[in-house]
């Protein structure tokens, strides 16, 4: 049952994040939404590695004990670092744009940067 709840929770988080990304106007909110969504994808993958009554994928448990699937956990380790990296870069870009246009509203940043290109 835990695996089902985990996967539903993960997908729910993904769409919560996408909702914030689509509906909020502030750039920081959008980036936070994106981060929540990627967190949801990670929760989904971790939940998939769960098996009923399983032990962690470490050696030292008695022979024949069912263990959780190590592969999704390894994938998650990689995915977390990639999400961290993209979040850091996007926040740096957000700081740089906010500094220039003195606003965090996406529409205004977009219009102002297009205007800058016309010049």
């Amino acid at each position: 049952m835990a695996a089902q709840i985990g996967t539903v929770l993960g997908i729910g988080l993904v769409f919560l994040g996408f909702g914030a990304l689509l509906l909020r106007r502030s750039l920081i909110w959008k980036l936070l939404g994106l981060n929540v969504a990627s967190g949801g994808a990670i929760v989904f993958l971790v939940a998939l590695s769960h098996r009923p009554g399983a032990v962690p994928p470490l050696s030292g448990y008695p022979e024949g004990t069912p263990s959780a699937d190590p592969l999704p956990q390894a994938l998650v380790l990689t995915a977390i670092v990639i999400h961290f990296a993209t979040l850091a870069l996007s926040l740096a870009y957000a700081i740089s744009l906010t500094e220039r246009f003195h606003t965090q509203e996406t529409g205004r940043i977009e219009a102002a940067s297009e205007e800058e290109m016309e010049r």
Binding site: G12, F15, L22, L23, S59, L77, V81, I82, I95, T98
Partner: protein, 212 residues
């Protein structure tokens, strides 16, 4: 109107995925991994995948991490420094930093060195050491710390670590060289790399904020 449409669209997508979930269980059998882990000299299934059979993914991931740091550096450097110094914390943080810092560093090194046997590994170790640096920065003031850990030495260390990691990793795959020693070296190198990355993010986000 647009809002309602957006919510309807997301709800539809969510519905499709939840419908797909009903077909997902029970998932496929776990493939026996103990033998593979033993071949790589690891007691931890996850570590044997991350540093063993999928080492190549990990190397690419380290590159992703390093390049994000490069991006943060080149994006925030032109913004100029924050004018007022970030005031060092007094009292509790300062006192506790002296007590906690050695423990944090020892714990990070332990996690990196034993990550192939139990829970742990280079990434958590680097994150913990990075948060230790954050504590130190709060206690001493970020300016003082960044004078001591300056770019001129950190940058060569960072790129050098990645280069060593890449060469070791890529050569160990075709040479079929395996063993616990190699995993410890990988974990320590990744730990160093992540610590430096965490410091770069912390340092640049705290000191090059520009003005709003």
């Amino acid at each position: 109107m647009k809002r309602a449409l957006t919510i309807a669209l997301l709800a539809t997508l969510l519905g499709i995925l939840l419908f797909g979930l009903t077909d997902l269980f029970p998932p496929a059998e776990v493939r026996p991994w103990a033998e593979m882990a033993r071949a790589y000299g690891a007691g931890n299934g996850v570590a044997s995948i991350v540093l063993g059979s999928r080492l190549y993914d990990t190397l690419l991931e380290v590159l992703v991490f390093a390049l994000a740091m490069v991006g943060v550096r080149y994006t925030l450097k032109p913004l100029g420094k924050w004018r007022e110094p970030v005031v060092p914390e007094r009292g509790v943080v300062r006192e506790m930093a002296d007590v906690l810092l050695p423990v944090i560093i020892v714990f990070a090194v332990y996690l990196a060195a034993s990550g192939h046997l139990g829970p742990g590994g280079g990434f958590p170790a680097g994150a913990i050491a990075g948060s230790g640096l954050l504590l130190l920065a709060m206690a001493k003031g970020i300016e003082r710390l960044s004078r001591e850990l300056h770019e001129g030495t950190l940058e060569p260390l960072e790129y050098g670590t990645i280069a060593v990691l890449l060469v070791l990793g890529c050569l160990s795959i075709p040479l079929n060289h395996r063993g616990s020693g190699l995993l410890v070296v990988f974990n320590l190198l990744i730990g160093i790399e992540v610590t430096i990355g965490a410091w770069v993010v912390l340092h640049y986000f705290a000191s090059h904020r520009g003005e709003i």
